[in-house]
């Protein structure tokens, strides 16, 4: 219907964005009726989202004309931003930003590098940056989930952890059940995505490939490839971040730093 009113692609996009944002705000208003106030946070998040994605789109349009190595800088910038974003899920945990950035850099970075070297991801900026960003974004979400779960588990089990320490356990042993639970919980979305692929959802990448004329079977296989890479990147990120943060919540004398109210 909108095509009848907007001939210009940019105007059409703005109109579509406005309608989608209104749908989101409708949900916020429904929530408000039930006493849940998300208005401010949602509005700011949506404004940030549109500004950020348009800015990235504009940068991409410039980069697409540049040399291939520039995509490395763009992906590195994304990793740092992802580290800062997911560190917010680990409030009160010492060194959360560093841990998150290193974990995402190792998890997503190593998968991107390996897959690019093997030729699974094309080195063209138009391929490397979007696919790489998908890996980084999912690694960020997984990292946030892992840290958030680990934090709440530790805070809920301070007594058990300190009892283990008092019995002579290594700091790493005293929190090992919570490291394991955080790792498993953080990977649930990635596992569910793989499990429901094609049945519950057809991801955007595949839809885009189909729209750009790729063969449906190849588009489907490549979508699986991307989700498997996402799983690998997310799993590695979660593994590294839970191991790194585990060491950060103890002093050198194996005293638990993360305590309620501290």
């Amino acid at each position: 219907m909108l095509e009848h009113f907007f001939r210009n692609q940019l105007e059409l996009g703005l109109a579509q964005a406005t309608i989608a944002a209104l749908a989101a705000m409708l949900v916020v208003l429904l929530a408000r009726k039930r006493g849940i106030h998300l208005e401010g946070e949602t509005l700011v998040a949506m404004l940030r989202g549109i500004v950020q994605i348009v800015a990235v789109g504009s940068i991409l349009s410039l980069l697409l004309r540049g040399p291939r190595w520039t995509s490395g800088f763009l992906l590195a910038g994304m990793i740092v931003a992802a580290g800062a974003t997911s560190a917010r899920r680990a409030k009160g945990m010492p060194g959360a930003f560093r841990v998150s950035t290193w974990a995402i850099a190792f998890g997503a970075g190593s998968v991107i590098a390996l897959m690019t070297w093997l030729g699974v991801i094309d080195t063209a900026i138009t391929s490397l940056v979007p696919v790489g960003s998908m890996l980084i974004a999912n690694a960020m979400n997984t990292n946030g989930l892992a840290l958030n779960r680990f934090r709440s588990d530790v805070l809920a089990h301070v007594g058990e952890i300190e009892t283990a320490l008092a019995l002579g356990a290594e700091a790493s042993n005293s929190v090992s059940p919570y490291v394991q639970a955080s790792f498993e919980a953080s990977l649930i979305p990635a596992i569910d995505s793989l499990r429901s692929l094609g049945i519950v959802w057809i991801p955007g990448l595949m839809a885009g490939m189909l729209l750009s004329g790729a063969r449906p079977v190849y588009a489907a296989i490549y979508q699986f490839v991307v989700l498997a890479m996402i799983f690998a990147a997310s799993g590695l990120t979660s593994l590294v971040s839970t191991l790194l943060i585990r060491a950060r919540i103890f002093t050198s004398a194996e005293q638990l730093v993360l305590q309620p109210g501290r």
Partner: protein, 231 residues
């Protein structure tokens, strides 16, 4: 528990021990000694720093001033894990690990690669009055039974000093008396040194020979139990 300490040697000495967190004084300039084989009670009103002081003795928290000498050496020079094994702690709530009583008792020795023998396990259970409980799931224990398992689990590490943090305050009256007499028996039979934190002065009088009275993180009185409690 009215006998005098069997030895005069000092096993623990606190020198100017203190801890301040976010400008809040938890413990300030605590100076005292614990003789080998004696039971020392730390008494005082709620929030006076009793548990904070005990956590410093076990080095679960780091002193911000002063230190503790354990067997004559600054305890910061010892490996924290080995120190905590020797200064065994029993907390107010038992915090048993999910699983069986046996798994809980084996936990401490396992941390240093030792397997608690079946005989030692049975002996510990007899000692805390829980013979035949080895395969019981800890989720099905009463409060008093759980605290007994907690005591046995600490004893499985063969500590030289027992640090007891309000070990009966979370129990009903009957369980409280049972656990108290268990502690009394263990300390007496094994000639263990013990430091017990309690807000119950009658309990302190029953268990300890000497006491420290704390107020606002400071030791305001120390000496023989009756003098401290009835001054």
């Amino acid at each position: 528990m009215s006998t005098r300490p069997t030895s005069d040697s000092v096993i623990l000495r606190s020198e100017h021990l203190g801890r301040v967190v976010a400008n809040k004084v938890l413990v300030e300039d605590a100076n005292f000694e614990v003789q080998t084989g004696e039971v020392l009670a730390i008494v005082g009103p709620s929030g006076s720093g009793k548990s904070s002081l005990l956590r410093l003795l076990n080095r679960l928290d780091e002193p911000t001033s002063g230190t503790v000498y354990f067997q004559g050496s600054d305890y910061r020079q010892a490996a924290p894990r080995e120190l905590r094994r020797k200064l065994g702690m029993v907390t107010q709530r038992p915090y048993l690990f999910p699983g069986t009583v046996e798994q809980n008792l084996r936990y401490g020795p396992l941390q240093r690669g030792e397997i608690l023998s079946q005989d030692a396990l049975e002996e510990l259970l007899v000692r805390v009055g829980l013979k035949g409980y080895a395969s019981r799931n800890v989720a099905n224990l009463s409060g008093g039974e759980a605290q007994r398992v907690s005591v046995a689990r600490t004893l499985a590490n063969s500590p030289l000093v027992l640090l007891l943090d309000e070990p009966t305050s979370a129990l009903d009256e009957e369980s409280k008396l049972e656990v108290e007499s268990l502690i009394q028996r263990i300390v007496r039979d094994q000639k263990l040194t013990a430091v017990i934190v309690t807000h119950d002065t009658a309990q302190a009088a029953r268990l300890a020979q000497r006491a420290l009275l704390l107020a606002a993180g400071r030791v305001v009185r120390s000496g023989p139990i009756n003098e401290v409690l009835h001054a």
